[in-house]
Amino acid sequence: MSNMSCHEAKRKVYEYLGEELDEKAKQEVDGHLSSCSRCTEEFDLERTISEMVISSSPRLMQSSDFYNRISNSLRSEIE
């Protein structure tokens, strides 16, 4: 049984998802999540958001003309 509060668990959500926590801290969060459905839902929500951001990556790239500028500069370099 973890002694971690919901407040403490939520403060660590991004480190947890980004695998920045050391093993001890991760186990504490896991312990809390195993007994708190509300925080588990919160963590799942943040995980969903991360997945949505990752899936929007190609669209994000298209929205900028950086890739095209690089491509054009490289081609003019070899002409």
């Binding site: 951001v53 990556s57 500028r69």
Partner: protein, 217 residues
């Protein structure tokens, strides 16, 4: 005379073909990293326009010296980081503009970003995380994109290095020169704002995902 011209044309063709091959090889290895380089350079310069300028310089230099790159099984980013650091210091020495135009971001290590996160997520009780998760997972790319682009460009660049490119705080710190704890602050702020914006959107649409379609009409 025509033999000389033919010979020159053949030489040009070979040279052109070698350049094309070099470009194809470079793009094969490097183009998947263009966005990460752009984000790292924005983090480095703390300015979107200067960051993109630096990233372009870095990629052009990488292309110029591509023949010197040796893949040691870890990919090109450690080599790229050396180019970023050299190009950044060359540009800032010559032009002196990086410091002048650099945006000051909150770098106070004592700043309690974690409480910001809690506040940003104060919307949680309105629908419940589980219901919000369902609605958010059905948002389209344009809505996600709008939420991402509503975040400060420097925070956004650092956060996306973490979320999309999967870079650890330490790695981001090495590339950008931002202390790792400040990277953590920025990632938390950006992720908290993003989460808040998307959760707000979920509340706007309500639990029923179909209401989103109705409201968009």
């Amino acid at each position: 005379m025509s033999d000389i011209i033919n010979s020159l044309e053949t030489g040009d063709a070979i040279s052109n073909s070698a350049d094309q091959q070099k470009l194809a090889d470079f793009e094969l290895h490097m183009s998947p990293h263009y966005e990460a380089i752009r984000r790292a350079c924005i983090g480095k310069t703390r300015n979107e326009a200067l960051g993109e300028e630096l990233a372009q310089t870095v990629i052009m230099k990488a292309f110029k010296y591509w023949h010197t790159y040796q893949d040691q099984g870890k990919g090109p980013m450690s080599w790229i980081n050396k180019i970023i650091q050299n190009a950044y210091y060359s540009q800032s020495t010559v032009e002196g503009k990086h410091n002048k135009n650099r945006v000051t971001v909150n770098a106070d290590p004592n700043d309690d970003w974690q409480d910001d996160f809690i506040q940003n997520n104060a919307v949680e009780s309105q629908l419940g995380a589980s219901a919000e998760s369902i609605v958010i997972s059905q948002l389209d790319n344009e809505e996600i994109l709008a939420a991402i682009q509503s975040i400060d460009p420097v925070f956004r660049a650092v956060a996306l290095l973490n979320i999309i490119d999967g870079w650890k705080y330490k790695e981001i710190a090495e590339f950008t020169g931002i202390p790792a704890n400040t990277v953590g602050t920025q990632v938390h702020r950006a992720r908290g704002l993003l989460s808040s914006a998307l959760r707000q959107k979920a509340i706007e649409y309500g639990i029923d995902p179909d209401s989103r379609k109705k409201k968009k009409k």
